[in-house]
Symmetry: C2
Subunit: 237 residues, 2 copies
Amino acid sequence: MTDYKLYYWPMLQGRGEFVRLALEDADVAYDDVARSHGMDAMLSCMNASNGALPPFAPPFLVTSDLVIAQTANILLFLGGRHGLAPKGDEGRFFVNQVQLTIMDLVAEVHDTHHPIASSLYYEDQLEEAKRRSTDFIATRMPKYLGYFERLLMRSDGPYLLGQEHSYADLSLFQIVQGLSYAFPSSMRRQASAYPLLTALGERLSQRPRLHAYLSSPRRIAFNEEGIFRHYPELEAE
Amino acid sequence: MTDYKLYYWPMLQGRGEFVRLALEDADVAYDDVARSHGMDAMLSCMNASNGALPPFAPPFLVTSDLVIAQTANILLFLGGRHGLAPKGDEGRFFVNQVQLTIMDLVAEVHDTHHPIASSLYYEDQLEEAKRRSTDFIATRMPKYLGYFERLLMRSDGPYLLGQEHSYADLSLFQIVQGLSYAFPSSMRRQASAYPLLTALGERLSQRPRLHAYLSSPRRIAFNEEGIFRHYPELEAE
């Protein structure tokens, strides 16, 4: 039985992947609508003039009685229902804070290849993309990753909040995977500064359900339509 | 008695203003720490190596037992405690979704004047800023504002959820104020498409506490250090 419908672009990981990782790790049944029924099924739901309040953009999750959009908001919902976040205020708001910081990083990664406009081709903003990527690799990436590493240093376990992982830990795994795909030589060069972040990802990817997902066809490969894109010229500096 | 300490840059509205509007409208006592005690008080709190988990960046709110960072996260907390959001799941996640969409818009507004790097001067990314602003005014601004207007059309009251306003309504007020400051002629030209959004702002600004705040010295004037900056050359197209 399928509990949830997830609506996201079917050909890329993108922001939807943060939701997929939580659903897969929590062993929650879901229908990845645009992948199983085509993109029209998603677009008609977005443009529906009746029913629930429409989302601004994918991903969005449809339950028996809710439509929830915005990645961090979906994860806040799933975290509370499926044991991927603490119940208490301190832990819950902390995990949400880390997730929102991760989403800020994700937006900055997107803008390394689209610094002028999402509506323009990459090739039409290539010079600006090079300039923005150079700054991203030199200042922004170490600032974010260094912050996450410090959070892990303060923890008394391998995860942000100790021995139990949260959806924000799963998102950190995805961040390291994505940045390693997009900027492989920069990540190799910087990796020694983030031993706990690296170890967190290795530990999570050995969890049986996550391991099974990552080696299944449900895990879309990174590609140049997603957030994390490998354009060697952006790393050339 | 002061319930909360708000930490934010003292010389600009920025993201902190979304929090100030909620605190002021809800009549919650707060200490605007960097404004009342200087910036060092904020920086030393951010760099403290002991105590609560540190925020990535201001704004952050300190209560008797919590440190909460990320604007939308602070508002989620305040909304639940001070009647600025519904208690039920549907309304609560919807208000959070709208707020996160507003924060995405805020990040895009920031990047109209800093499309390459926050660490560089505006003057050193002026050509890119012109190009990004042209796209923002032509495609992104109408996309976001049109979405918010459609949400208000579906509501059965002047606010997003009907007769009662939420923190997201206060943030919509701030968005219209800020965009009108940054891009006055574009907003004048587009305003007729957003009658409900305009009316929402006028209605909110007449609420006695908000009205008193907006005409007090606590309301910092818009300026060219904040998110919403008026650079006439960015609107010249």
